[in-house]
Subunit: 309 residues, 2 copies
Protein backbone atom coordinates (compact mmCIF):
# COMPACT_ATOMS: atom_id res chain seq x y z
CA UNK A 1 0.00 0.00 0.00
CA UNK A 2 1.37 3.41 -0.99
CA UNK A 3 1.68 5.93 1.82
CA UNK A 4 -1.35 8.21 2.01
CA UNK A 5 -1.51 11.55 0.22
CA UNK A 6 -1.23 14.52 2.59
CA UNK A 7 -4.18 16.78 1.85
CA UNK A 8 -5.17 20.19 3.20
CA UNK A 9 -8.72 21.54 3.20
CA UNK A 10 -8.92 25.21 2.18
CA UNK A 11 -12.11 26.94 3.32
CA UNK A 12 -13.27 25.21 6.47
CA UNK A 13 -17.02 25.80 6.38
CA UNK A 14 -20.12 23.62 6.26
CA UNK A 15 -19.29 21.36 3.31
CA UNK A 16 -15.72 20.84 4.54
CA UNK A 17 -16.88 19.75 8.00
CA UNK A 18 -19.95 17.78 6.90
CA UNK A 19 -18.39 15.87 4.01
CA UNK A 20 -14.69 16.36 3.33
CA UNK A 21 -13.38 15.69 6.85
CA UNK A 22 -15.26 12.38 7.31
CA UNK A 23 -14.31 11.23 3.79
CA UNK A 24 -10.62 12.04 4.31
CA UNK A 25 -10.49 10.57 7.82
CA UNK A 26 -12.28 7.46 6.55
CA UNK A 27 -9.87 6.92 3.65
CA UNK A 28 -6.64 4.95 3.79
CA UNK A 29 -5.43 6.88 0.74
CA UNK A 30 -5.43 10.33 2.41
CA UNK A 31 -4.13 11.96 5.59
CA UNK A 32 -5.56 15.30 6.71
CA UNK A 33 -2.39 17.41 6.86
CA UNK A 34 -3.92 20.80 7.61
CA UNK A 35 -6.94 23.02 7.39
CA UNK A 36 -7.10 26.64 6.25
CA UNK A 37 -9.77 29.22 6.94
CA UNK A 38 -9.46 32.98 6.81
CA UNK A 39 -11.74 33.45 9.84
CA UNK A 40 -13.07 30.32 11.51
CA UNK A 41 -11.51 27.62 13.67
CA UNK A 42 -10.04 24.27 12.60
CA UNK A 43 -9.97 20.86 14.24
CA UNK A 44 -8.22 19.80 17.44
CA UNK A 45 -4.88 18.24 16.63
CA UNK A 46 -4.75 19.31 12.97
CA UNK A 47 -2.52 22.23 11.95
CA UNK A 48 -4.71 25.22 11.05
CA UNK A 49 -3.77 28.31 9.06
CA UNK A 50 -5.35 31.59 8.03
CA UNK A 51 -4.24 31.33 4.40
CA UNK A 52 -2.78 28.89 1.91
CA UNK A 53 0.31 31.11 1.86
CA UNK A 54 0.77 30.60 5.60
CA UNK A 55 0.41 26.84 5.15
CA UNK A 56 2.97 26.81 2.32
CA UNK A 57 5.44 28.77 4.48
CA UNK A 58 4.88 26.56 7.56
CA UNK A 59 6.80 23.52 6.40
CA UNK A 60 3.72 21.29 6.84
CA UNK A 61 3.87 18.81 3.96
CA UNK A 62 0.94 18.67 1.54
CA UNK A 63 0.49 16.79 -1.74
CA UNK A 64 -2.95 18.12 -2.50
CA UNK A 65 -5.59 20.63 -1.49
CA UNK A 66 -9.38 20.41 -1.44
CA UNK A 67 -10.71 23.91 -2.16
CA UNK A 68 -14.04 24.35 -0.35
CA UNK A 69 -14.24 28.15 -0.15
CA UNK A 70 -17.05 30.19 -1.71
CA UNK A 71 -16.59 30.26 -5.52
CA UNK A 72 -15.70 33.94 -5.62
CA UNK A 73 -12.19 33.31 -4.22
CA UNK A 74 -11.62 29.78 -5.51
CA UNK A 75 -9.65 30.71 -8.61
CA UNK A 76 -6.99 32.70 -6.80
CA UNK A 77 -6.42 29.90 -4.27
CA UNK A 78 -6.30 27.25 -6.97
CA UNK A 79 -3.71 29.24 -8.94
CA UNK A 80 -1.56 29.55 -5.83
CA UNK A 81 -1.83 25.80 -5.15
CA UNK A 82 -0.95 24.90 -8.75
CA UNK A 83 2.05 27.24 -8.62
CA UNK A 84 3.20 25.36 -5.50
CA UNK A 85 2.87 22.05 -7.36
CA UNK A 86 -0.07 20.79 -5.32
CA UNK A 87 -2.84 18.69 -6.86
CA UNK A 88 -6.19 20.45 -6.61
CA UNK A 89 -9.67 19.15 -5.85
CA UNK A 90 -12.26 21.86 -6.49
CA UNK A 91 -15.62 21.67 -4.72
CA UNK A 92 -18.44 22.61 -7.09
CA UNK A 93 -18.65 25.02 -8.79
CA UNK A 94 -15.00 24.64 -9.85
CA UNK A 95 -14.51 28.33 -10.62
CA UNK A 96 -16.39 31.59 -10.69
CA UNK A 97 -16.78 31.52 -14.48
CA UNK A 98 -16.26 29.06 -17.36
CA UNK A 99 -13.52 31.33 -18.69
CA UNK A 100 -11.80 31.40 -15.32
CA UNK A 101 -12.00 27.62 -15.21
CA UNK A 102 -10.54 27.22 -18.70
CA UNK A 103 -7.57 29.38 -17.70
CA UNK A 104 -7.10 27.31 -14.54
CA UNK A 105 -7.24 24.06 -16.48
CA UNK A 106 -4.63 25.33 -18.93
CA UNK A 107 -2.43 26.40 -16.01
CA UNK A 108 -2.70 22.99 -14.33
CA UNK A 109 -1.95 21.31 -17.64
CA UNK A 110 1.23 23.34 -18.16
CA UNK A 111 2.29 22.68 -14.56
CA UNK A 112 1.55 18.96 -14.83
CA UNK A 113 -0.64 19.18 -11.73
CA UNK A 114 -3.78 16.97 -11.40
CA UNK A 115 -7.01 19.01 -11.33
CA UNK A 116 -10.29 17.46 -10.22
CA UNK A 117 -13.70 19.10 -10.58
CA UNK A 118 -15.46 17.35 -7.73
CA UNK A 119 -19.06 17.22 -8.96
CA UNK A 120 -20.08 15.25 -5.88
CA UNK A 121 -23.60 14.38 -7.04
CA UNK A 122 -22.13 12.33 -9.86
CA UNK A 123 -20.91 9.99 -7.10
CA UNK A 124 -24.35 9.62 -5.50
CA UNK A 125 -25.29 6.01 -4.87
CA UNK A 126 -27.57 5.28 -7.86
CA UNK A 127 -26.11 7.52 -10.59
CA UNK A 128 -23.85 4.78 -11.95
CA UNK A 129 -26.74 2.32 -12.15
CA UNK A 130 -28.91 4.97 -13.83
CA UNK A 131 -26.23 5.52 -16.45
CA UNK A 132 -25.91 1.79 -17.07
CA UNK A 133 -29.70 1.47 -17.46
CA UNK A 134 -29.73 4.32 -20.04
CA UNK A 135 -27.12 2.68 -22.27
CA UNK A 136 -28.63 1.91 -25.67
CA UNK A 137 -31.85 3.81 -24.93
CA UNK A 138 -32.86 7.17 -26.46
CA UNK A 139 -33.97 9.93 -24.11
CA UNK A 140 -37.08 11.65 -25.47
CA UNK A 141 -37.96 13.99 -22.60
CA UNK A 142 -36.87 14.92 -19.13
CA UNK A 143 -37.63 16.87 -15.99
CA UNK A 144 -35.52 18.20 -13.13
CA UNK A 145 -37.09 19.38 -9.92
CA UNK A 146 -34.51 20.57 -7.37
CA UNK A 147 -36.17 22.30 -4.46
CA UNK A 148 -34.92 22.91 -0.96
CA UNK A 149 -35.02 25.51 1.79
CA UNK A 150 -32.16 27.99 1.75
CA UNK A 151 -33.14 28.93 5.31
CA UNK A 152 -32.74 25.31 6.44
CA UNK A 153 -29.64 24.33 4.45
CA UNK A 154 -27.69 27.54 3.97
CA UNK A 155 -28.24 29.92 6.89
CA UNK A 156 -25.61 32.64 7.08
CA UNK A 157 -24.11 31.79 3.67
CA UNK A 158 -24.35 35.36 2.41
CA UNK A 159 -21.90 34.61 -0.44
CA UNK A 160 -24.66 32.60 -2.15
CA UNK A 161 -26.58 35.83 -2.71
CA UNK A 162 -23.65 37.94 -3.81
CA UNK A 163 -22.52 38.29 -7.44
CA UNK A 164 -20.85 35.04 -8.51
CA UNK A 165 -22.52 33.06 -5.70
CA UNK A 166 -25.03 31.38 -8.08
CA UNK A 167 -28.02 31.50 -5.68
CA UNK A 168 -30.36 28.58 -6.33
CA UNK A 169 -27.91 27.25 -8.90
CA UNK A 170 -25.55 26.33 -6.06
CA UNK A 171 -27.70 23.26 -5.34
CA UNK A 172 -29.15 23.24 -8.86
CA UNK A 173 -25.74 22.69 -10.45
CA UNK A 174 -25.72 19.29 -8.72
CA UNK A 175 -28.69 18.25 -10.85
CA UNK A 176 -26.97 19.60 -13.95
CA UNK A 177 -23.82 17.64 -13.08
CA UNK A 178 -25.85 14.40 -12.97
CA UNK A 179 -27.72 15.26 -16.17
CA UNK A 180 -24.55 15.94 -18.16
CA UNK A 181 -23.05 12.71 -16.80
CA UNK A 182 -26.09 10.70 -17.91
CA UNK A 183 -26.81 12.14 -21.37
CA UNK A 184 -24.65 11.20 -24.36
CA UNK A 185 -25.40 14.38 -26.35
CA UNK A 186 -24.41 17.94 -25.41
CA UNK A 187 -27.00 19.80 -23.36
CA UNK A 188 -28.04 23.29 -24.50
CA UNK A 189 -30.00 25.93 -22.58
CA UNK A 190 -32.73 27.33 -24.83
CA UNK A 191 -34.57 29.50 -22.31
CA UNK A 192 -34.40 30.50 -18.67
CA UNK A 193 -36.33 32.63 -16.22
CA UNK A 194 -35.07 33.80 -12.84
CA UNK A 195 -36.67 35.24 -9.72
CA UNK A 196 -34.16 37.54 -8.02
CA UNK A 197 -34.83 38.96 -4.53
CA UNK A 198 -34.51 42.74 -4.43
CA UNK A 199 -31.63 42.51 -1.93
CA UNK A 200 -29.69 39.78 -3.78
CA UNK A 201 -27.56 39.52 -6.93
CA UNK A 202 -28.48 35.90 -7.63
CA UNK A 203 -31.73 33.98 -8.24
CA UNK A 204 -33.78 32.35 -5.50
CA UNK A 205 -35.80 30.41 -8.08
CA UNK A 206 -35.22 29.54 -11.71
CA UNK A 207 -36.78 27.59 -14.54
CA UNK A 208 -34.98 26.51 -17.68
CA UNK A 209 -35.64 24.62 -20.85
CA UNK A 210 -32.76 22.40 -21.94
CA UNK A 211 -32.32 20.46 -25.16
CA UNK A 212 -30.13 17.42 -25.74
CA UNK A 213 -30.42 15.45 -28.96
CA UNK A 214 -34.17 15.41 -29.60
CA UNK A 215 -35.07 15.58 -25.91
CA UNK A 216 -36.44 18.64 -24.14
CA UNK A 217 -35.80 18.84 -20.40
CA UNK A 218 -37.78 21.16 -18.11
CA UNK A 219 -35.89 22.38 -15.06
CA UNK A 220 -37.40 23.81 -11.89
CA UNK A 221 -35.01 25.08 -9.20
CA UNK A 222 -36.30 26.59 -5.99
CA UNK A 223 -34.71 27.74 -2.75
CA UNK A 224 -37.98 28.45 -0.92
CA UNK A 225 -39.26 24.89 -0.55
CA UNK A 226 -40.28 24.55 3.09
CA UNK A 227 -42.05 21.17 2.80
CA UNK A 228 -39.03 18.89 2.62
CA UNK A 229 -36.48 18.46 -0.10
CA UNK A 230 -37.24 17.56 -3.71
CA UNK A 231 -34.08 16.50 -5.57
CA UNK A 232 -35.45 14.67 -8.59
CA UNK A 233 -34.30 14.00 -12.13
CA UNK A 234 -36.62 12.11 -14.46
CA UNK A 235 -35.77 10.91 -17.96
CA UNK A 236 -38.31 9.38 -20.32
CA UNK A 237 -36.76 7.07 -22.92
CA UNK A 238 -37.90 4.79 -25.72
CA UNK A 239 -37.41 1.95 -23.23
CA UNK A 240 -39.07 3.25 -20.09
CA UNK A 241 -38.80 6.03 -17.53
CA UNK A 242 -36.03 6.57 -15.02
CA UNK A 243 -36.48 8.61 -11.85
CA UNK A 244 -33.49 9.55 -9.74
CA UNK A 245 -34.58 11.04 -6.43
CA UNK A 246 -32.93 12.07 -3.16
CA UNK A 247 -30.20 13.77 -5.19
CA UNK A 248 -29.18 10.59 -6.97
CA UNK A 249 -29.34 8.29 -3.94
CA UNK A 250 -32.55 6.54 -5.05
CA UNK A 251 -33.54 5.11 -8.44
CA UNK A 252 -36.94 4.03 -9.69
CA UNK A 253 -37.67 2.53 -13.11
CA UNK A 254 -41.18 2.81 -14.56
CA UNK A 255 -42.68 3.73 -11.22
CA UNK A 256 -41.37 0.69 -9.35
CA UNK A 257 -40.37 1.13 -5.69
CA UNK A 258 -37.14 3.12 -5.46
CA UNK A 259 -33.90 1.24 -5.07
CA UNK A 260 -31.22 2.74 -2.86
CA UNK A 261 -27.73 1.92 -1.70
CA UNK A 262 -25.47 3.00 1.11
CA UNK A 263 -24.49 6.68 0.82
CA UNK A 264 -20.82 6.71 -0.11
CA UNK A 265 -20.85 9.90 -2.20
CA UNK A 266 -17.75 11.66 -0.85
CA UNK A 267 -15.94 8.39 -0.06
CA UNK A 268 -16.26 7.38 -3.72
CA UNK A 269 -15.30 10.89 -4.82
CA UNK A 270 -12.10 10.76 -2.76
CA UNK A 271 -11.32 7.24 -4.03
CA UNK A 272 -11.55 8.67 -7.55
CA UNK A 273 -9.26 11.56 -6.57
CA UNK A 274 -6.69 9.09 -5.17
CA UNK A 275 -6.87 7.22 -8.46
CA UNK A 276 -6.22 10.46 -10.38
CA UNK A 277 -3.25 11.22 -8.11
CA UNK A 278 -1.85 7.71 -8.62
CA UNK A 279 -1.97 8.26 -12.36
CA UNK A 280 -1.04 11.97 -12.31
CA UNK A 281 -4.16 12.74 -14.31
CA UNK A 282 -6.91 15.37 -14.27
CA UNK A 283 -10.70 15.02 -14.41
CA UNK A 284 -11.77 18.54 -15.24
CA UNK A 285 -15.24 18.92 -16.72
CA UNK A 286 -16.70 22.44 -16.98
CA UNK A 287 -20.05 21.40 -18.53
CA UNK A 288 -22.41 22.02 -15.57
CA UNK A 289 -20.93 25.49 -14.93
CA UNK A 290 -21.25 26.29 -18.63
CA UNK A 291 -24.97 25.56 -18.48
CA UNK A 292 -25.37 27.93 -15.54
CA UNK A 293 -23.51 30.72 -17.36
CA UNK A 294 -25.68 30.19 -20.43
CA UNK A 295 -28.80 30.38 -18.28
CA UNK A 296 -27.66 33.70 -16.77
CA UNK A 297 -26.87 35.08 -20.24
CA UNK A 298 -30.40 34.63 -21.60
CA UNK A 299 -32.49 34.84 -18.43
CA UNK A 300 -35.76 36.66 -18.17
CA UNK A 301 -35.50 38.28 -14.73
CA UNK A 302 -38.45 38.86 -12.40
CA UNK A 303 -38.04 40.73 -9.13
CA UNK A 304 -38.87 38.84 -5.92
CA UNK A 305 -39.35 39.70 -2.25
CA UNK A 306 -36.17 40.48 -0.32
CA UNK A 307 -34.54 37.38 1.17
CA UNK A 308 -33.46 37.11 4.81
CA UNK A 309 -32.28 33.92 6.51
CA UNK B 1 -11.13 32.07 -61.66
CA UNK B 2 -13.58 29.72 -59.94
CA UNK B 3 -17.26 30.52 -60.38
CA UNK B 4 -18.62 32.61 -57.52
CA UNK B 5 -20.28 31.06 -54.47
CA UNK B 6 -24.04 31.57 -54.40
CA UNK B 7 -24.89 33.06 -51.04
CA UNK B 8 -28.21 33.92 -49.39
CA UNK B 9 -28.62 36.49 -46.63
CA UNK B 10 -30.95 35.33 -43.84
CA UNK B 11 -32.39 38.18 -41.76
CA UNK B 12 -32.55 41.24 -43.97
CA UNK B 13 -32.26 44.07 -41.47
CA UNK B 14 -29.86 46.94 -40.87
CA UNK B 15 -26.53 45.08 -40.82
CA UNK B 16 -27.49 43.01 -43.86
CA UNK B 17 -28.35 46.10 -45.93
CA UNK B 18 -25.55 48.36 -44.62
CA UNK B 19 -22.69 45.88 -44.82
CA UNK B 20 -23.40 42.42 -46.23
CA UNK B 21 -25.10 43.47 -49.47
CA UNK B 22 -22.34 45.91 -50.55
CA UNK B 23 -19.61 43.42 -49.59
CA UNK B 24 -21.25 40.57 -51.54
CA UNK B 25 -22.08 42.74 -54.56
CA UNK B 26 -18.52 44.08 -54.52
CA UNK B 27 -16.91 40.65 -54.41
CA UNK B 28 -16.02 38.53 -57.43
CA UNK B 29 -16.08 35.46 -55.20
CA UNK B 30 -19.79 35.71 -54.28
CA UNK B 31 -23.13 36.09 -56.03
CA UNK B 32 -26.18 37.20 -54.03
CA UNK B 33 -28.55 34.30 -54.73
CA UNK B 34 -31.42 35.26 -52.44
CA UNK B 35 -32.51 37.10 -49.34
CA UNK B 36 -34.75 35.85 -46.54
CA UNK B 37 -36.70 37.86 -44.02
CA UNK B 38 -39.70 36.77 -41.99
CA UNK B 39 -41.36 40.19 -42.27
CA UNK B 40 -39.52 42.84 -44.29
CA UNK B 41 -38.89 43.36 -48.01
CA UNK B 42 -35.87 42.27 -50.06
CA UNK B 43 -34.05 43.83 -53.02
CA UNK B 44 -35.36 44.42 -56.52
CA UNK B 45 -34.25 41.61 -58.80
CA UNK B 46 -33.09 39.24 -56.05
CA UNK B 47 -35.28 36.27 -55.06
CA UNK B 48 -36.76 36.90 -51.61
CA UNK B 49 -38.30 34.41 -49.20
CA UNK B 50 -40.07 34.44 -45.84
CA UNK B 51 -38.00 31.55 -44.41
CA UNK B 52 -34.92 29.49 -45.10
CA UNK B 53 -37.24 26.52 -45.56
CA UNK B 54 -39.05 28.35 -48.39
CA UNK B 55 -35.70 29.16 -50.00
CA UNK B 56 -34.57 25.53 -49.77
CA UNK B 57 -37.81 24.35 -51.38
CA UNK B 58 -37.67 26.97 -54.16
CA UNK B 59 -34.94 25.40 -56.23
CA UNK B 60 -32.83 28.58 -56.03
CA UNK B 61 -29.23 27.37 -55.73
CA UNK B 62 -27.20 28.39 -52.68
CA UNK B 63 -23.76 27.30 -51.49
CA UNK B 64 -23.73 29.37 -48.33
CA UNK B 65 -25.83 31.54 -46.05
CA UNK B 66 -24.97 34.66 -44.07
CA UNK B 67 -27.12 34.61 -40.92
CA UNK B 68 -27.87 38.21 -39.89
CA UNK B 69 -30.99 37.70 -37.76
CA UNK B 70 -31.22 38.66 -34.09
CA UNK B 71 -29.22 36.15 -32.00
CA UNK B 72 -32.29 34.63 -30.38
CA UNK B 73 -33.24 32.72 -33.58
CA UNK B 74 -29.78 32.26 -35.10
CA UNK B 75 -29.15 28.75 -33.80
CA UNK B 76 -32.26 27.23 -35.27
CA UNK B 77 -31.55 28.76 -38.71
CA UNK B 78 -27.92 27.69 -38.62
CA UNK B 79 -28.89 24.11 -37.77
CA UNK B 80 -31.31 24.06 -40.71
CA UNK B 81 -28.64 25.42 -43.07
CA UNK B 82 -26.05 22.88 -41.89
CA UNK B 83 -28.57 20.05 -42.34
CA UNK B 84 -29.04 21.27 -45.95
CA UNK B 85 -25.26 21.17 -46.47
CA UNK B 86 -24.83 24.94 -46.76
CA UNK B 87 -21.76 26.73 -45.45
CA UNK B 88 -22.67 29.19 -42.69
CA UNK B 89 -21.41 32.68 -41.93
CA UNK B 90 -22.74 33.84 -38.56
CA UNK B 91 -22.95 37.57 -37.83
CA UNK B 92 -21.83 38.33 -34.29
CA UNK B 93 -22.76 37.06 -31.80
CA UNK B 94 -22.55 33.62 -33.42
CA UNK B 95 -25.18 32.04 -31.16
CA UNK B 96 -27.40 32.83 -28.23
CA UNK B 97 -25.12 31.05 -25.76
CA UNK B 98 -21.63 29.51 -25.67
CA UNK B 99 -23.22 26.09 -25.14
CA UNK B 100 -25.50 26.59 -28.13
CA UNK B 101 -22.49 27.60 -30.19
CA UNK B 102 -20.48 24.54 -29.12
CA UNK B 103 -23.34 22.27 -30.20
CA UNK B 104 -23.55 24.10 -33.55
CA UNK B 105 -19.81 23.79 -34.11
CA UNK B 106 -19.95 20.05 -33.39
CA UNK B 107 -22.88 19.70 -35.81
CA UNK B 108 -21.03 21.56 -38.57
CA UNK B 109 -17.95 19.45 -37.94
CA UNK B 110 -19.88 16.18 -38.27
CA UNK B 111 -21.59 17.47 -41.44
CA UNK B 112 -18.30 18.69 -42.92
CA UNK B 113 -19.82 22.15 -43.46
CA UNK B 114 -17.65 25.30 -43.11
CA UNK B 115 -18.72 27.51 -40.20
CA UNK B 116 -17.46 31.09 -39.88
CA UNK B 117 -17.93 33.27 -36.82
CA UNK B 118 -17.81 36.66 -38.53
CA UNK B 119 -16.32 38.88 -35.82
CA UNK B 120 -16.29 41.83 -38.20
CA UNK B 121 -14.27 44.20 -36.02
CA UNK B 122 -11.32 41.83 -36.28
CA UNK B 123 -11.21 42.90 -39.95
CA UNK B 124 -11.18 46.62 -39.18
CA UNK B 125 -8.45 48.49 -41.05
CA UNK B 126 -5.76 48.78 -38.35
CA UNK B 127 -6.28 45.61 -36.27
CA UNK B 128 -3.74 43.63 -38.28
CA UNK B 129 -1.09 46.32 -37.87
CA UNK B 130 -1.87 46.59 -34.16
CA UNK B 131 -1.35 42.84 -33.78
CA UNK B 132 1.95 43.01 -35.66
CA UNK B 133 3.13 45.90 -33.46
CA UNK B 134 2.30 43.90 -30.31
CA UNK B 135 4.39 40.89 -31.33
CA UNK B 136 7.22 40.36 -28.86
CA UNK B 137 5.88 42.97 -26.40
CA UNK B 138 4.26 42.23 -23.05
CA UNK B 139 0.92 43.87 -22.28
CA UNK B 140 0.89 45.24 -18.75
CA UNK B 141 -2.44 47.08 -18.68
CA UNK B 142 -5.34 47.96 -20.90
CA UNK B 143 -8.56 49.92 -21.25
CA UNK B 144 -11.62 49.56 -23.44
CA UNK B 145 -14.10 52.39 -23.83
CA UNK B 146 -16.98 51.49 -26.16
CA UNK B 147 -19.70 54.09 -26.03
CA UNK B 148 -22.43 54.93 -28.51
CA UNK B 149 -26.03 56.01 -28.67
CA UNK B 150 -28.56 53.18 -28.86
CA UNK B 151 -31.13 55.76 -29.95
CA UNK B 152 -28.96 56.82 -32.89
CA UNK B 153 -27.61 53.42 -33.98
CA UNK B 154 -30.28 50.92 -32.99
CA UNK B 155 -33.75 52.53 -33.09
CA UNK B 156 -36.54 49.95 -33.19
CA UNK B 157 -34.21 47.04 -32.45
CA UNK B 158 -36.31 45.77 -29.57
CA UNK B 159 -34.57 42.37 -29.63
CA UNK B 160 -31.46 44.05 -28.17
CA UNK B 161 -33.38 44.60 -24.95
CA UNK B 162 -35.01 41.20 -24.73
CA UNK B 163 -33.45 38.20 -22.97
CA UNK B 164 -30.56 36.94 -25.09
CA UNK B 165 -30.23 40.25 -26.97
CA UNK B 166 -27.06 41.27 -25.05
CA UNK B 167 -27.96 44.99 -24.74
CA UNK B 168 -24.80 47.11 -24.67
CA UNK B 169 -22.74 43.96 -25.23
CA UNK B 170 -24.05 43.85 -28.81
CA UNK B 171 -21.58 46.60 -29.76
CA UNK B 172 -19.29 45.81 -26.82
CA UNK B 173 -18.62 42.30 -28.08
CA UNK B 174 -16.86 43.94 -31.04
CA UNK B 175 -14.26 45.34 -28.66
CA UNK B 176 -13.91 41.94 -26.99
CA UNK B 177 -13.42 40.31 -30.40
CA UNK B 178 -10.52 42.67 -31.13
CA UNK B 179 -9.03 42.21 -27.65
CA UNK B 180 -9.07 38.41 -27.86
CA UNK B 181 -7.52 38.62 -31.34
CA UNK B 182 -4.69 40.85 -30.07
CA UNK B 183 -3.76 39.20 -26.77
CA UNK B 184 -1.73 35.99 -26.70
CA UNK B 185 -3.01 34.83 -23.30
CA UNK B 186 -6.59 33.81 -22.43
CA UNK B 187 -8.75 36.67 -21.17
CA UNK B 188 -10.71 36.14 -17.93
CA UNK B 189 -13.56 38.25 -16.51
CA UNK B 190 -12.89 38.89 -12.82
CA UNK B 191 -15.70 41.35 -12.08
CA UNK B 192 -18.59 43.03 -13.83
CA UNK B 193 -21.32 45.54 -13.01
CA UNK B 194 -24.42 46.17 -15.12
CA UNK B 195 -27.03 48.90 -15.29
CA UNK B 196 -30.30 47.37 -16.47
CA UNK B 197 -33.29 49.57 -17.40
CA UNK B 198 -36.43 48.60 -15.52
CA UNK B 199 -38.22 47.74 -18.79
CA UNK B 200 -35.34 45.71 -20.30
CA UNK B 201 -33.78 42.27 -19.75
CA UNK B 202 -30.28 43.36 -20.83
CA UNK B 203 -27.79 46.01 -19.69
CA UNK B 204 -27.64 49.54 -21.11
CA UNK B 205 -24.24 50.11 -19.50
CA UNK B 206 -21.60 47.79 -18.12
CA UNK B 207 -18.15 47.86 -16.60
CA UNK B 208 -15.84 44.88 -16.34
CA UNK B 209 -12.41 44.00 -15.09
CA UNK B 210 -10.54 41.56 -17.30
CA UNK B 211 -7.25 39.80 -16.69
CA UNK B 212 -4.89 38.33 -19.26
CA UNK B 213 -1.44 37.16 -18.26
CA UNK B 214 -0.34 39.82 -15.78
CA UNK B 215 -2.40 42.58 -17.42
CA UNK B 216 -5.59 44.05 -15.99
CA UNK B 217 -7.98 45.59 -18.52
CA UNK B 218 -10.76 47.98 -17.48
CA UNK B 219 -13.83 47.91 -19.72
CA UNK B 220 -16.49 50.64 -19.98
CA UNK B 221 -19.47 49.94 -22.24
CA UNK B 222 -22.25 52.48 -22.63
CA UNK B 223 -25.33 52.78 -24.83
CA UNK B 224 -26.31 56.28 -23.70
CA UNK B 225 -23.40 58.25 -25.19
CA UNK B 226 -25.00 61.16 -27.02
CA UNK B 227 -21.78 63.12 -27.74
CA UNK B 228 -20.43 61.07 -30.61
CA UNK B 229 -19.01 57.58 -30.66
CA UNK B 230 -16.12 56.36 -28.54
CA UNK B 231 -14.82 53.01 -29.77
CA UNK B 232 -11.37 52.77 -28.20
CA UNK B 233 -9.06 50.00 -27.09
CA UNK B 234 -5.77 50.95 -25.43
CA UNK B 235 -3.00 48.55 -24.45
CA UNK B 236 0.04 49.58 -22.44
CA UNK B 237 3.06 47.36 -23.03
CA UNK B 238 6.68 47.17 -21.96
CA UNK B 239 7.49 48.77 -25.34
CA UNK B 240 4.98 51.59 -25.59
CA UNK B 241 1.25 52.23 -25.73
CA UNK B 242 -1.14 51.29 -28.51
CA UNK B 243 -4.48 53.03 -29.05
CA UNK B 244 -6.99 51.61 -31.49
CA UNK B 245 -9.85 54.05 -32.04
CA UNK B 246 -12.85 54.33 -34.37
CA UNK B 247 -13.58 50.65 -33.74
CA UNK B 248 -10.20 49.50 -35.01
CA UNK B 249 -10.06 51.79 -38.05
CA UNK B 250 -7.40 54.09 -36.54
CA UNK B 251 -4.15 53.29 -34.73
CA UNK B 252 -1.94 55.54 -32.65
CA UNK B 253 1.34 54.51 -30.99
CA UNK B 254 2.61 56.45 -27.98
CA UNK B 255 0.26 59.36 -28.66
CA UNK B 256 1.39 59.97 -32.22
CA UNK B 257 -1.22 61.12 -34.75
CA UNK B 258 -3.55 58.27 -35.62
CA UNK B 259 -2.89 56.27 -38.73
CA UNK B 260 -5.85 55.03 -40.74
CA UNK B 261 -6.50 53.03 -43.88
CA UNK B 262 -9.40 52.58 -46.24
CA UNK B 263 -12.35 50.87 -44.56
CA UNK B 264 -12.55 47.40 -46.07
CA UNK B 265 -13.92 45.59 -43.00
CA UNK B 266 -16.69 43.51 -44.59
CA UNK B 267 -14.85 43.16 -47.92
CA UNK B 268 -11.92 41.58 -46.08
CA UNK B 269 -14.29 39.48 -44.00
CA UNK B 270 -15.94 38.08 -47.14
CA UNK B 271 -12.55 37.47 -48.77
CA UNK B 272 -11.67 35.37 -45.69
CA UNK B 273 -14.98 33.50 -45.97
CA UNK B 274 -14.26 32.73 -49.65
CA UNK B 275 -10.88 31.42 -48.60
CA UNK B 276 -12.52 29.16 -45.99
CA UNK B 277 -14.98 27.89 -48.62
CA UNK B 278 -12.14 27.17 -51.07
CA UNK B 279 -10.44 25.06 -48.42
CA UNK B 280 -13.64 23.60 -46.92
CA UNK B 281 -12.53 24.83 -43.50
CA UNK B 282 -14.13 26.52 -40.50
CA UNK B 283 -13.07 29.56 -38.48
CA UNK B 284 -15.22 29.24 -35.39
CA UNK B 285 -14.04 31.12 -32.31
CA UNK B 286 -16.43 31.44 -29.37
CA UNK B 287 -14.08 33.46 -27.11
CA UNK B 288 -15.82 36.89 -27.23
CA UNK B 289 -19.24 35.35 -26.51
CA UNK B 290 -17.73 33.38 -23.64
CA UNK B 291 -16.53 36.60 -22.03
CA UNK B 292 -20.02 38.08 -22.27
CA UNK B 293 -21.57 35.00 -20.66
CA UNK B 294 -19.00 35.12 -17.87
CA UNK B 295 -19.78 38.81 -17.29
CA UNK B 296 -23.52 38.04 -17.00
CA UNK B 297 -22.82 35.18 -14.56
CA UNK B 298 -21.02 37.34 -11.99
CA UNK B 299 -22.57 40.75 -12.62
CA UNK B 300 -23.57 43.15 -9.90
CA UNK B 301 -26.86 44.54 -11.21
CA UNK B 302 -28.06 48.09 -10.64
CA UNK B 303 -31.50 49.22 -11.80
CA UNK B 304 -31.63 52.05 -14.34
CA UNK B 305 -34.30 54.33 -15.81
CA UNK B 306 -36.64 52.71 -18.34
CA UNK B 307 -35.29 52.86 -21.90
CA UNK B 308 -37.34 54.07 -24.87
CA UNK B 309 -35.98 54.72 -28.36
Amino acid sequence: MASPFDIAIIGFGKIARDQHVPAILGSERFALAATVDSHGPGLDGVPHFRSLQALLESGVKADAVAVCTPPQVRGQIARQAIAAGLAVLLEKPPAETPGGFAALKALAGRAGVPLFTAWHSRFAAMVGEAKAWLAGKTVIAGRISWRESARKWHPGQRWLWEAGGLGVFDPGINALSILTELLPDPVVVTSSAFEVPSNCATPIAATMTLESGDAVIAVDLNFLEEHGEVWELELTTDGGTLLLSRGGAALSIDGAPAKTALDTEYATLYAHFADLLDRGESDADPAPLGLVADAFLIAEISPAEPYHD
